[in-house]
């Protein structure tokens, strides 16, 4: 494989790793916890901006960029700070966005917050350099290692893969734990659970904060590889794409989320580059998006649980003495789909 192809391949794999972490984050919030985070892309953007300014050094105006919080923190501090900031932002936003009891209303509030954030960042250039965004972000360890482009790419891919593995262990553990079961129950039957004394808002908040941290982490990893970030990268339509990935792949389970990341954010997005261009500029893309909309409707109609449905968790496993008749859960209740509740 020629060097250019190798580099392209590495880029796609790193993007896949980043998108996997992002999809797991949204999956925890929406697939498992039932929180429709329509402000998702804002968290990824926060992580990206912080990952950038914390390695760029203080804003001196020399490179014609202005931004806040400039510093040169050693790796992996920018990633850690980004994740922490994501958690903090989620806590702040969740404190009022999670107040309405209806999930679609929560989604609207989060969407509004996301738009407020993008407008403010765009208008107030002192925050993150407005429309032009931040650029020339140094890659971690690049000067010290003095590797070639390709070798450095493999190195960064390896670092990304390690983080993906760590995040996987975390989310897998959590979703299989009793807390995960409680979250799934909360997603399906919030009124029943709240009458049992579970604080729905608090549990939603926990899931929101965790997801926020992971989303910001994914942004930080991405930005230190591509070296730039601007409002063009976090258009509110991007949140929609991530939701599509989860729905197509299968909400509620981590493997489905990863599959969605590969198929929708990887294959579908990249495949457009290979289509022949026809008609006027933009026509091909308009048709592509129309097909995407039709695809989502088709999935929501024919296969709302996604390509990889969540595993049915049989109650019988917990109550062996009761036998096959007692405790057997029905199709609608315990098997969560994108379409129920």
């Amino acid at each position: 494989m020629s060097p250019a192809y190798q580099y392209y391949f590495i880029t796609l794999l790193i993007f896949f790793g980043v998108n996997t972490i992002a999809c797991w984050s949204l999956n925890i919030q929406y697939g498992v916890g039932g929180v429709m985070n329509f402000a998702f892309i804002m968290f990824q953007a926060l992580g990206a901006y912080l990952g950038g300014v914390l390695t760029l050094g203080p804003s001196t105006g020399a490179s014609f960029q202005q931004y806040v919080f400039g510093a040169t923190l050693p790796f992996p501090l920018p990633w850690i700070v980004a994740a922490a900031a994501g958690a903090a932002l989620a806590w702040i936003v969740g404190s009022f966005a999670l107040r309405p009891a209806r999930r679609d209303f929560q989604a609207m509030v989060m969407l509004v917050v996301s738009i407020i954030a993008s407008t403010v960042v765009l208008t107030e250039g002192w925050l993150f350099n407005g429309m032009n965004g931040i650029a020339a972000i140094p890659k971690p360890f690049q000067s010290r290692l003095s590797l070639g482009e390709i070798q450095y790419g493999w190195f960064y891919l390896a670092m990304t893969a390690i983080v993906v593995l760590l995040v996987y262990l975390l989310v897998n553990r959590l979703t299989g734990s009793p807390w995960g079961r409680r979250l799934r129950a909360m997603r399906e039957h919030p009124e029943a659970l709240s009458s049992l004394g579970v604080n729905i808002r608090a549990e939603s908040m926990k899931v929101y904060v965790l997801g926020g941290a992971l989303a910001s982490l994914s942004g930080a990893i991405l930005v230190q590889f591509i070296g730039a970030w601007s409002p063009g990268s976090w258009d509110t339509g991007e949140t929609f794409l991530y939701f599509v990935a989860i729905i197509v792949g299968g909400a509620g389970n981590n493997f489905g989320a990863m599959l969605g990341a590969a198929l929708v954010l990887g294959v579908f997005e990249e495949s457009v580059r290979y289509l022949p261009s026809f008609g006027y500029a933009g026509l091909a893309e308009a048709i592509q998006f129309m097909l995407l909309g039709v695809l989502i409707l088709a999935f929501l109609w024919f296969r709302p649980s996604g390509l990889v449905p969540e595993r049915r968790r049989r109650l019988t496993r917990l109550l062996p003495a009761v036998g096959a008749t007692g405790g057997e859960t029905q199709t609608g209740a315990d098997r969560p789909t994108a379409g129920s509740t």
Binding site: P100, M108, V113, G282, I287, G293, L297, G339, S340, T341
Partner: protein
Amino acid sequence: MNQLTLAIGFGLVTSAILALGAVGFTLQFGVSNILNLAYGDVMTVSAFMAYLVNAGGAGIWLAMCAGAATGAVVSVLISTLIFTPFLRRGTSRFAMVMVSLALAVILQNAIQAVAGPAFRSYSRSQGTSLHLLGMILTPYQLVIIGVAAASLLALHLLLRYTRIGKALRATAADAELARSCGIATERVSALAWAISGALCGLAGVTLALNLASFDFHFGNAFLLVIVAAAVFGSVGQPYGAMAGALVIGMASELAAIWTPALKQVVAFVILAVILLIRPAGLWRKSFVQMDVAAR
């Protein structure tokens, strides 16, 4: 000329357009319990249809009627062909948001594919501005305010004093109970979509008139302000939507005196603050009523 009274006058125009949009949106929600995020694109389609009528030689009044009719037809179509089947299949309320989002994506890109990226403008004569009570308004703006006021008044009279209006309100409050009382809820529902679709079409045409030139994505860009106004006044409540439109329209014009770049942000922040105090919007204390009704 006092900045404040000027801004109030301009705020009235923005609120009028917003009110048409928000009341239509909230009606659709009231009768189907869905947040229809394809609403903005139906506005765009209606504006384009009105443009075709206008370009064919008709005056702006006829174009407005064409827009309203288009909005009604398209809304009824999407409700019977897309929303109702999904609802019958048992799709959850918040998954319906994804359905309406997908529909919005399809509509907007279809408009783009057919109409192309070029801007369109209605042909109409400008007319001179009128000075009233410290406000400056052009004849067309007065027309817009008048159309909005007339439509909302008509809606109010319909809901309050006619049998159809009562049937609408009954269906919105509790569909099953209404059905068992002998109300043909499906027909009533279709009527509600038609009325709200007409309001949607009117909102689209008046907004396009106000913008002077428009392209395929202007309706979608305005959608979030409409949603904000509707949610502010408790979505599902037409009078709440009118109040929400007034508050948000005024707030953004007044904010423009001090921070023009952030004027829309101010409107959204107001929404967020209201939701902090009253999570179900201004008109309702809590969601309990709504959940019981919406089965």
